[in-house]
């Protein structure tokens, strides 16, 4: 049964039919008809952000903080669309399912450099999974539903639908398709059984194995995390994870080695370097993970499970590449393991664990405590201790605080950790926290921030206050763009070019000006009380935590170095001498 309605009404109806409850957006001339349609219904709740970038990050946080939902955004043409580009790129690199609707000037004005016109599909072609310019009202219902299918299936990603204003006014027939599938796009989800069998055999025969898991396990849904835990229990093998994969495996488990990569733990990186069988699940061998590529885990056989065929053999050549969805492949793996119940080499495994415990004994996350100033690591340890029983959702900005958060906050479950991993977008955390809080109104949602990053999307405080979203912004304020400063120390002779945070606002007054609550703390002895005050305040809080200014984020694999060339926190030499000329050219 089809119904006649306008294009704008179709947009809202399609969102309703897709079960969308929240839409993040900002109005403007080219989307007024859609805003009018939103006004006349109450199923889809619109959340007014203060900048379009914030809308996209909020939708990302919304989608990431649970399974099964696509984040939705509505922005106007021209600057509305260009402001969304950073968020789209962020979602593409972190594989977050989004549907972003942009207004466009009327069809007859396209190409005339009309007011607020830009080539949205041209600009967003390389930062979306797919995009559409709707040229006929007849195509609109199909495109709207197809977009949700494309965003959520296969490797998830952002989809843009650019709708000219005349199409929004035009009348056409709307019906919900029986399924929203794209007519030809069918990503492979089941892995090749022969390869899975070969992988199980290789895993069973390993003497020094490691599971290296990534964001794909989270994206695949809670079932994938459960299966990963089951496989880890069956095998008794150690597990490490990327920044994106934190929470898929519980940090409290004794098989957990902590995060790996540039700021990962000593035991995780050394185990990756020395292993004989590596099982990469939903991870993409990013340069932050591998370090020097020709020295990456040189003696291991590698198995790679990924839904995106182009991820396999992209950076690192693997021995068995399995294209498929993590949950599907892990399900087959666990089943085959149970059926064949292979005997693992217990002696070799015990020796491997002894070696790992030796590395763990190096305590790579240790730091020098202080009684007079708050060490950033200490601040996060206390934050973790005081919040862990409340099942908090954590978002972050980008920089040192982000890495410390990944190191010192320990995640037991998936979908509790939202951070900009691939693109490294400063300004991500606050809008993402708003999206998370919108989906989980009663939860404790904390944005771990730096004083520089937070200013990039500070305006979203207004959104938090307007919708009574009690997000907590925990700023580790060291008055520096900390990671930039650290790299300048390591690479550029300590010349801190433009990395000092001059003229910072008074964050306490700023919080109050927005209608939130501000807290400042610079005393380690008072920190616990201040954190409790933050948790118990039922409105948005900006916590200005004054921390040690020139603390470096360690351990660290310097650029151009291998996993076994990490610098540990007790490094005593000249930090300016660590990275050679070749390493300095890398990012």
């Amino acid at each position: 049964m089809s119904e006649m309605m306008t294009g704008a009404e179709m947009v809202v109806r399609a969102l309703q039919d897709q079960g969308v409850e929240h839409l993040f957006g900002y109005p403007g001339g080219a989307v007024l008809p859609i805003y009018d349609a939103i006004f006349q219904q109450d199923k889809v709740k619109h959340v007014l952000v203060r900048h379009e970038q914030g809308a996209v990050h909020a939708a990302e946080g919304y989608a990431r903080s649970g399974a099964g939902k696509v984040g939705c955004v509505l922005v106007t043409s021209g600057p509305g669309a260009t402001n969304a580009v950073t968020g789209l790129t962020d979602a593409l690199l972190d594989s977050i399912p989004l549907v972003v609707i942009t207004g466009q000037v009327p069809t007859h004005l396209i190409g005339s450099d009309a007011f607020q016109e830009c080539d949205t599909v041209g600009i967003t072609r390389s930062c979306t999974k797919h995009n559409y310019l709707v040229k006929s009202i007849k195509d609109l219902p199909r495109i709207l539903h197809e977009a949700f299918y494309v965003a959520a299936n296969g490797r998830p990603g952002p989809v843009v639908i650019d709708i000219p204003k005349d199409i929004q006014f035009a009348t056409g027939a709307y019906s919900r398709p029986r399924d929203n599938q794209h007519k030809t796009y069918r990503p492979v989800v089941k892995g090749d059984l022969n390869k899975i069998k070969a992988a199980v055999e290789l895993i069973a025969g390993a003497r020094k194995p490691i599971f290296y898991t990534g964001g794909g396990v989270i994206n695949s849904g809670p079932h994938a995390s459960a299966l990963l835990r089951e496989l880890a229990r069956l095998t008794g093998y150690p597990v490490t994870s990327t920044l994106m994969g934190l929470g898929a495996f519980p940090a409290a488990d004794k098989q957990w080695l902590g995060m790996l990569g540039m700021h990962g733990t000593y035991e995780a990186n050394l185990a990756m370097h020395d292993c004989d069988v590596m099982i990469a699940i939903g991870a993409r061998f990013d340069d932050r993970i591998t370090g020097r590529i020709d020295a990456f885990s040189p003696r291991s056989k590698k198995i790679h499970i990924d839904i995106d065929p182009s991820s396999i053999n992209k950076n690192v050549k693997v021995d068995i590449g399995i294209v498929g969805d993590c949950a599907h492949v892990l399900e087959d793996m666990v089943r085959i393991w149970r059926e064949t119940s292979p005997q693992v080499d217990k002696t070799a495994l015990a020796a491997w664990w002894t070696q790992i415990e030796g590395w763990r004994g190096r305590k790579s996350l240790a730091y020098k405590p202080s009684e007079t100033i708050i060490k950033p690591q200490y601040a996060l340890e206390r934050l973790h201790a005081l919040t862990k029983d409340r099942d908090p959702f954590i978002t972050t900005e980008v920089g040192q605080h982000q890495m410390w958060a990944a190191q010192y906050l320990h995640f037991q479950d998936p979908n509790r950790w939202m951070t900009s991993g691939g693109l490294g977008t400063m300004g991500y955390g606050l809008p993402a926290a708003i999206g998370v809080q919108m989906r989980h109104p009663k939860a404790l949602v904390i944005d771990v921030a730096g004083e520089a990053s937070i200013l990039m999307n500070m305006q979203e405080m207004s959104t938090a206050v307007q919708y009574r979203l009690p997000v907590k912004i925990f700023i580790l304020n060291n008055e520096y763009m900390g990671m930039v400063r650290q790299w300048q120390e390591l690479l550029h002779g300590g010349r801190y070019s433009e990395s000092y945070s001059q003229s910072l606002p008074d964050f306490v007054k700023l919080a109050e000006a927005y209608g939130g609550h501000g807290i400042r703390c610079d005393d380690p002895a008072r920190l616990d009380d201040a954190i409790m005050e933050m948790i118990e305040t039922p409105k948005p809080v900006i916590f200005d935590c004054i921390v040690a200014k020139e603390e470096n984020c360690f351990p660290m694999i310097p650029s151009g170095k291998a996993h076994n060339e990490m610098i540990l926190p007790d490094f005593e030499g000249d930090t300016g001498e660590i990275i050679d000329a070749k390493g300095k050219q890398l990012v």
Binding site: K135, A295, P298, P309, K317
Partner: protein, 180 residues
């Protein structure tokens, strides 16, 4: 052979670069060519030749023939990246399936008088080119053939007054009964 610059085993060795012809079947929708071309430029791959035309009108399908070059690893990446684009139906590496048939068409304008003019006419007929246009001082020839043949023709005609060339790029198809 010089020692590799790393003390780790299995250091990557430089691999031979090969030329591959890929046939890509896509939905004929706006922007699909930009998507393909953008993939190559965005990821730093080469396009040596690219042709595109709708081949099945009812199904709105187009066939794109791309000639590219790279190591085996790069070619595999190109195919995987093409294949994951939403409007791409199929990617076939014609080079991988044995020597494919490859043809392109060239239009060649030659301007000259006297002896050059006679020689141009003689050479063109030796290559089997058709004469599409003639004036008192010029010819336009059409030649269809493999890339090397076209190259040879153009090089030869340079000596007798070649002034302009237009080439279609490569259309390719596998040999034998199998279709893609």
């Amino acid at each position: 052979m010089s020692k590799p610059a790393t003390h780790y085993p299995n250091a990557p060795k430089s691999q031979p670069v090969a030329r591959h012809t890929l046939a890509v079947i896509v939905d004929n929708e706006p922007g699909v060519l930009a998507r393909i071309a953008g993939l190559f430029s965005g990821r730093g791959y080469n396009i040596e030749s690219l042709t595109v035309s709708e081949t099945e009108h009812e199904k709105h399908l187009s066939r794109i023939t791309v000639v590219t070059s790279g190591t085996a690893h790069v070619i595999d990446q190109i195919k995987a990246h093409l294949d994951r684009l939403v409007p791409v139906h199929r990617v076939v590496d014609l080079t991988e399936h044995g020597e494919a048939l490859e043809r392109e068409l060239a239009l060649v304008k030659v301007v000259g008088k006297g002896e050059h003019r006679v020689e141009a006419m003689r050479l063109a007929s030796a290559f089997g080119a058709r004469t599409l246009d003639a004036s008192l001082s010029s010819f336009v020839f059409e030649l269809t053939g493999a890339t090397e043949e076209i190259e040879r023709f153009i090089k030869t005609m340079t000596a007798v007054g070649l002034t302009e060339v237009s080439r279609t790029g490569i259309a390719a198809m596998s040999r034998g009964p199998d279709s893609m």
